[in-house]
């Protein structure tokens, strides 16, 4: 994959993001934040790959990265669910 390709993906994704996020009502902005927080835990993919890097350094950096990213994913999705569960109609 070359530079232009991934740049295209990046720019299109930003536009999609703006498009869908402006439709989220203010009532749900906190869950949106914690939920997108969980999504930024996608760094876990990079962290898993990083553990493959040779040497002690790679292992340690990878391990800490996996821990951080997992906290984000697990904590983010769980707390978002906990909040959304509370939103009830009359």
């Amino acid at each position: 994959m070359d530079m232009i390709n991934i740049l295209t993906v990046f720019i299109l994704a930003i536009f999609v993001g703006i498009e869908i996020i402006t439709k989220v009502p203010p009532t749900l902005h906190t869950p949106l934040m914690s939920g997108s927080n969980a999504i930024s835990g996608i760094a876990i993919v990079g962290a898993i790959i990083a553990t493959k890097v040779d040497g002690q350094m790679g292992t340690w950096l990878g391990l800490i990265a996996v821990i951080f990213a997992t906290i984000n994913c697990v904590g983010g999705f769980m707390v978002t669910d906990r909040m959304l569960k509370m939103f009830k109609r009359k």
Binding site: M1, I6, F10, A13, I14, G17, I18, I20, T22, K23, V24, P25, P26, L28, H29, T30, P31, L32, M33, S34, G35, S36, N37, A38, I39, G41, I42, A43, I44, V45, G46, A47, I49, A50, T51, K52, V53, G58, T59, L61, G62, I64, A65, V66, I67, A69, T70, I71, N72, C73, V74, G76, F77, V79, D81, M83, L84, F87, K88, R89
Partner: protein
């Protein structure tokens, strides 16, 4: 041969987008969150099986530790503490991205190209800055560090110097990628320092903007890591988060009528700004809950305006009791939520939802303002600057131009406050002296509990 790993990332990205789309209504939101989490699971599994040579032991240890910590926070956190939680999670996200990029740079098996080195520098820079900045934001919100802006002489100059050093080191790393590591380590250290020095001068009231901004940075750091690893999954997901954070930052800035630059470099809240309203003597009418109950008895339409003071007093449940009693008496009750009512975007809505207040009664600024014209009683609970009419007409007021809730247009305004102390912006509120305003002093929870009893005894 089909590239199943990248195909899975596309699937994960689709699920993230569908998940966020379903956040457009509280009815579908919970399901949307579940869909996004499935997307994450797919991305993780796809990565794990993409290569047989994984260090599965390290990964398993990391995931177990991370899952325990994450679940613990998610279950234990109080809803009032959500801003802190999101702040620290932003930090972990940024930190993870910086670490991944660093590992890639230090990989002896690879000799990064100029483009590659540039993306690494970007990911490390944004990720590290987000990491330390988020911890400062967390410390301020949790009260470990003073919520007041910490400023000193030459602060902007120092930040500028650090920024210049970072740019210089970044360029050195990008173009001399094969020489020693001191520039790279220097880059990390100075990015960490910049994260701290950028956030310490920002006051507690401006934290909603800061958290939104750091949220955006954590996404952009993940996207930058995607560029490092040439991984579409990371790029798409990171961009979504980056866009989300930027939009929320913008909404928060508009809610306070401030520019982003003013929030970051303004250090508001340090000293009470001099204002024309300050010198004026305001004559307030102090009243009792019994009188408030009688005023409410004669009303048809009531709008509750909750401020952060309400959450501090833990009075959300007491509000619901009063509202339910009023509804029993045949009155319409709505809630007016200002964009910066809480400590993060949408915070007040979550606090009220936790108290079982139906979300369809919560109205945002745009929808509720026309309603005040036909409103009999507006009850202002622990809110101050967001209901100050000076924002509409007093050009010398520091909050001039800030969008406010037009409570003064109601027939009667009942204001509950602990004392006559001015709000965050340090200015007196002329609303309190208006002809149609009555003040009921006291703790919000105690006041509402007594008001509830008085309403029942009518």
């Amino acid at each position: 041969m089909i590239d199943y790993t990248n195909l899975s990332y596309v699937l994960a990205a689709i699920l993230f987008i569908v998940g966020i789309k379903r956040l457009s209504s509280p009815k579908t939101a919970r399901n949307g969150n579940a869909i996004a989490s499935v997307g994450m699971l797919i991305a993780i599994v796809a990565t794990l099986v993409s290569d047989g040579n994984m260090d599965y032991q390290t990964i398993a240890i990391g995931m177990i530790i991370g899952a325990i910590i994450g679940a613990f926070f998610a279950i234990k956190v109080e809803m009032t503490q959500m801003p802190q939680m999101v702040a620290i999670f932003n930090g972990f996200g940024g930190g993870a991205s910086a670490l991944v990029a660093a590992a890639e740079y230090l990989n002896p098996a690879k000799n990064p190209s100029t483009f590659n080195a540039a993306t690494i520098v970007l990911a490390v820079l944004v990720g590290t800055l987000t990491f330390t900045g988020s911890f400062i934001a967390f410390g301020k919100l949790q009260g470990f560090i003073s919520g007041k802006p910490i400023v000193f002489k030459g602060q902007k100059f120092l930040n500028a110097i650090i920024a210049i050093i970072l740019v210089g080191m970044g360029i050195l790393v990008i173009f001399q990628a094969s020489t020693g590591l001191e520039n790279f380590y220097g880059l990390i250290i100075f990015a960490a320092i910049l994260g701290i020095t950028l956030i310490i001068p920002i006051g507690g009231a401006d934290m909603p903007v800061v958290i939104s901004l750091l949220n955006s940075y954590s996404g952009l750091a993940a996207a930058a890591t995607g560029f490092v690893l040439m991984n579409n999954g990371l790029i798409i997901s990171g961009s979504l988060v980056g866009a989300s954070g930027l939009i929320l930052t913008n909404i928060m800035c508009k809610g306070m009528n401030r520019s982003l630059a003013n929030v970051i470099f303004g250090a508001v809240g340090l000293e009470a700004p001099s204002s024309s309203g300050k010198g004026k003597q305001i004559n307030v009418k102090s009243s009792t809950t019994e009188e408030a109950a009688m005023i409410l008895d004669a009303a048809d339409k009531v709008i509750v305006v909750p401020g952060y003071g309400l959450a501090v007093a833990q009075a959300q449940h007491a509000v619901r009791e009063v509202a339910e009693q009023l509804e029993l008496m045949g009155k319409t009750v709505l809630y007016a939520i200002h964009p910066v009512a809480g400590r993060m975007p949408g915070h007040m809505n979550v606090l009220l939802a936790e108290a079982n207040i139906p979300y369809d009664h919560l109205k945002d600024l745009k929808d509720i303002n026309p309603e005040f014209e036909t409103c009999d009683v507006a009850i202002v609970l622990g809110a101050n600057d967001v209901v100050n009419p000076a924002a509409r007409h007093d050009t010398s007021s520091p909050i001039y131009g800030m969008p406010i809730l037009d409570v003064d247009k109601s027939r009667t305004v009942i204001v509950n406050k602990r004392t006559m102390n001015p709000g965050f912006a340090g200015i007196q509120n002329e609303l309190f002296g208006f002809e149609n305003t009555v003040m009921v002093f006291g703790d919000a929870k105690e006041m509402l509990t007594t008001l509830y009893k008085d309403l029942k005894e009518l």
